[in-house]
């Protein structure tokens, strides 16, 4: 991301680079002929040791101790808090979500980082791209949360994600004109089996049917709608009728009758159905009348096709109980992909060109080179990225608190959030809070061991 385009920190012997580091980290030898006395070291170290003791060592011990006591700290309860942790439904949801987070988020982010790093390798403007992807790392989770709360807004007129999805959907199937319309109660219309509505009585050619609908606001009718008119009686092989909005503005109209102010419903698809087969189709005029031609003799039901009433697609409920965790993981990816990308790109740059060339000379395809040479050489870096992400994911807090709306906070819960909630955000049970904190600590112990071992290897 720097002017050199290289992402390896030039001077810093960087601990994050599994392969490259190791040179400078070896402590100076133990001769120390000219070295100052040990007590001087203590002077240099003292402030740091005080802070580390007060803010890390003591709290770990105290939390472990405190977790064995009840909410108020007066009664010794042994391991009860830990038992409760696994049996309380709300904590259990947090635990389950944390598992989802730890399994999914690091993999997704690492893969995205790998893809970005590989794709940018031979692009001239890769620096610009990397800056764009890395930028979210600089801003707070709170701001990122606000950003994604906006993206995930349910209403497609406001939320970007749903706006995109519904636009795509609408080009596939256009929205219907009368999604909310339904028959006037008492009208001779019933819901049809395949959607839409059909007349409850059968009619023969030459007859006329009047079908009253309600539930449409007069202002929302298509332009050109005219006052409803009674359809003229048709010929021997014709069926006629009127579909109209049986509601007088301001009330007062007679139910089932075409009152003077009531309008026809234009553009409705009307079908004549015999024995389940659609025999004829017509669309209503501006005054609501329709004419079904060329029907033979016999009895027909008149159906208002389902297409007229298709509900518009409202998009995905991102912030609902089912999708909330994947949605927040999406935001997490947005924040962290840059981190994975930069580290992996540094690893890629460190891979010796000769190894790749040798494989190519042997006739390997690019994919084979990638699979057999690049990825294995990269695996130490990938592991570091993965473990780092896992540690951060375990502690995920802000994003969940900010993105999940109040009504789904319980469904989106994670351990760190539950810990805060239980001990500070209203719960006031510091025994349980301490138990959760200790549990979180236990979960990062493997990472701690990984970290120490890696450091010692590099030091040797």
């Amino acid at each position: 991301m720097t002017e050199t385009g290289g992402t390896t920190p030039p001077a810093t012997p960087d601990a994050s680079e599994g392969a490259a580091a190791g040179d400078g980290t070896t402590a100076p030898g133990g001769t120390g002929r000219l070295g100052p006395p040990s007590w001087l070291a203590l002077v240099f170290l003292l402030p740091a040791l005080l802070f580390l003791g007060a803010y890390l060592v003591y709290p770990i011990l105290f939390s472990a101790y405190r977790s064995l006591w009840d909410a108020s700290g007066t009664e010794f309860v042994g391991l009860d808090n830990y038992l409760k942790m696994f049996t309380t439904p709300s904590t259990f949801v947090a635990l389950r979500n944390n598992v989802i987070w730890v399994v999914v988020a690091p993999i997704v982010v690492t893969i995205a980082g790998l893809i970005f790093a590989v794709l940018t390798e031979r692009i001239r403007w890769s620096t610009a791209f990397k800056i764009v992807i890395f930028m979210p790392m600089a801003i707070s989770f709170l701001a990122s949360g606000v950003i994604f709360r906006l993206v995930y807004e349910q209403d497609p007129e406001r939320g970007l994600a749903n706006a995109v999805i519904t636009t795509v959907q609408d080009t596939v199937s256009a929205a219907a004109a009368y999604p909310d319309a339904n028959p006037r109660p008492g009208a001779p219309l019933a819901e049809a089996s395949g959607g839409g509505y059909e007349s409850t009585e059968e009619v023969s050619p030459g007859e006329t049917v009047f079908l009253p609908l309600v539930g449409v606001q007069a202002d929302e009718l298509p332009e050109g709608a005219e006052p409803a008119a009674e359809a003229a009686v048709g010929g021997q092989d014709e069926l006629t009728g009127t579909v109209w909005l049986d509601f007088t503005r301001g009330g007062g109209g007679e139910e089932g009758a075409m009152d003077p102010e009531e309008l026809g419903l234009p553009g409705l698809e009307v079908q004549a159905v015999r024995d389940g087969e659609v025999v004829a189709t017509a669309f209503t005029e501006n005054d609501g009348t329709f004419l079904l031609e060329d029907v033979g003799g016999g009895q027909y039901t008149i159906r208002l096709a389902a297409d007229n009433f298709t509900e518009p697609y409202r998009g995905v409920t991102w912030l609902g109980p089912t999708l909330i965790t994947p949605a927040i993981i999406g935001a997490y990816l947005w924040v962290w992909a840059g981190f994975a990308m930069v580290l992996i790109a540094a690893g890629l740059a460190a891979i010796p060109r000769e190894a790749l060339e040798a494989a190519r000379v042997d006739g390997a395809t690019e994919w084979q080179v990638f699979r057999r040479v690049t990825v294995p050489l990269l695996s130490p870096v990938l592991l570091v990225v993965f473990v780092t992400l896992m540690i951060y994911v375990l502690k995920i807090f802000d994003l969940v608190l900010v993105i999940a709306p109040g009504s789904v906070q319980a469904d989106a819960n994670v351990l760190a959030l539950q810990m805060w909630r239980v001990s500070f955000g209203g719960g006031n049970d510091q025994g349980m809070g301490s138990a959760l904190a200790v549990f979180l600590l236990v979960l990062v112990v493997p990472a701690m061991i990984f970290q120490i071992r890696r450091f010692r290897q590099e030091s040797q």
């Binding site: 709300s90 349910q154 209403d155 909310d180 006037r184 309600v214 539930g215 449409v216 606001q217 007069a218 929302e220 509601f247 007088t248 503005r249 301001g250 009330g251 007062g252 409202r314 409920t317 912030l319 609902g320 109980p321 709306p405 109040g406 009504s407 789904v408 906070q409 319980a410 819960n413 209203g426 719960g427």
Partner: protein, 432 residues
């Protein structure tokens, strides 16, 4: 008590206007010395800021004028409990605290942090308030608090334009509301309700109103006091009644899943700004967001009383309770003054205020609408009840994502199983 979030938020919007008033009525403007409490200094803590603070400080100023004491007000911020806790622990509480929920009165009384009402303060409470209010501020045999400011939570706000278009009038019973009013609105193509489902407290308010009217004040008190199980038939019945509206996606803007994601006061905007719906249920404080959405309160934003589900229409009230936290000189006098009809009439003139004192008459209020609200409280007399979710421990009644809020939100999403919901409420309710 999250509805007050709105108030403090609204306060930001009008902060500039408030600043003008501030100079006129800030503490210290009154004469010092003189009066029987000359030289006495008192502190009062409450969560009001902005305009609300100005109104209250006007009352304090008139107390200063009458007695010569000097009173300073400090704002506790949104979470009064979190503000007072450390102060009590450190032994430096304010002389008088205004608590936003009765649960805190119980809590502090148990910690011996409160001083019982004495003398004129106690007499005023006895004589000018109904027994219910006295009991609300009492723990055991001692009376500690007096409700000095009330919020009316039994109102349904509507858009007259929508009612005119559909040709309907304000309903008087629940059946009229669900059948005639909502049915006709739907026929006219107008969505009847905007729901504020993302703000859990609005759902508890729905429940409380229906329950109070349907099951009666006695059951209401028993349920609040933990003497009645949440699995009681009356609770299931209320949930079934609620489902008559909540179970109909077409009844509310955005359907049920949209409603659960709509917070207060966005739901108010849906009615008055976007005109996506005709009615929204909530308390008198809807007037502020309605006005911000561009409606003129009283003309194109009007409320009707929550209709009767059972025999009587419900009147649910929330509000702020003043308590004494020290035995210093002048504390009881200040509480007596705050409880009095005189002080509250001063407050009423400032606007944005409702009293629970039976002797504050309706004409003390500036505008007709507030007068009507006050009248419904006075008329309901002994049957007025305090917001139930604020009487139970906040972990059950007022916590985001837990207890009543979360369970009723789930019920709004899927109201098909009232018994199951009642069972969940019972499990979440604190053991008593």
């Amino acid at each position: 008590m999250s509805e007050h979030r709105w108030n403090s938020r609204g306060a930001i919007a009008v902060a500039a206007a408030g600043a003008l008033v501030a100079s006129a009525c800030s503490p210290g403007a009154g004469p010092t010395g003189g009066g029987e409490l000359g030289g006495v200094e008192l502190t009062v803590a409450g969560k009001w800021t902005g305009v609300e603070q100005e109104g209250f400080e006007a009352v304090l100023a008139s107390f200063e004028e009458e007695t010569g004491a000097s009173v300073s007000y400090e704002s506790t911020g949104e979470d009064t409990g979190a503000y007072l806790g450390p102060k009590i622990e450190a032994g430096e509480p304010p002389d008088v605290a205004v608590l936003p929920q009765p649960g805190l009165v119980d809590e502090y009384a148990e910690q011996d942090a409160l001083v019982p009402l004495e003398g004129e303060a106690a007499t005023t409470l006895d004589e000018q308030y109904t027994d219910y209010w006295r009991d609300l501020g009492s723990v055991g045999d001692e009376t500690y608090g007096v409700l000095i400011k009330a919020a009316h939570k039994s109102l349904i706000w509507y858009r007259p334009g929508a009612f005119d278009e559909a040709g309907v009038a304000a309903p008087e019973t629940w059946d009229e509301l669900t059948d005639t009013t909502s049915g006709t609105l739907s026929d006219a193509g107008i969505t009847p309700f905007a729901m504020c489902g993302a703000s859990g407290w609005t759902l508890t308010d729905w429940f409380e109103n229906v329950y109070l009217s349907e099951a009666g004040p006695e059951s209401y008190d028993q349920l609040a006091g933990g003497e009645l199980s949440w699995t009681d038939e009356s609770v299931v019945q209320t949930l079934e009644t609620l489902a008559e509206i909540w179970d109909e996606g077409g009844m509310m803007a955005g359907g049920q899943s949209g409603a659960v994601q709509t917070d207060f006061p966005t739901c108010v905007t849906q009615v008055y700004g976007q005109e996506d719906a005709a009615m929204v249920f909530e308390g008198d404080f809807v007037s502020a967001p309605a006005a911000e959405a561009g409606a003129t309160v009283g003309e194109d934003a009007i409320a009707f009383p929550f209709p009767a589900v059972g025999e009587e229409p419900p009147v649910v009230v929330a509000g702020d309770i003043a308590v004494a936290m020290t035995e210093d000189e002048g504390v009881q006098e200040l509480l007596a003054y705050l409880a009095s009809a005189d002080a509250q009439s001063v407050w009423a003139e400032q606007g944005g205020y409702l009293s629970a004192n039976s002797e504050v008459t309706a004409d003390a209020y500036e505008d007709e609408f507030t007068q009507e609200l006050a009248q419904t409280i006075l008329d309901a007399g002994e049957n007025v009840r305090y917001d139930l979710s604020d009487q139970v421990p906040s972990a059950f009644g007022a916590t985001e994502g837990a207890g009543m809020w979360a369970i009723l939100q789930d019920f709004l999403r899927d109201p098909s199983d009232p018994e199951g919901t009642a069972e969940e409420l019972e499990q979440a309710a604190p053991e008593s």
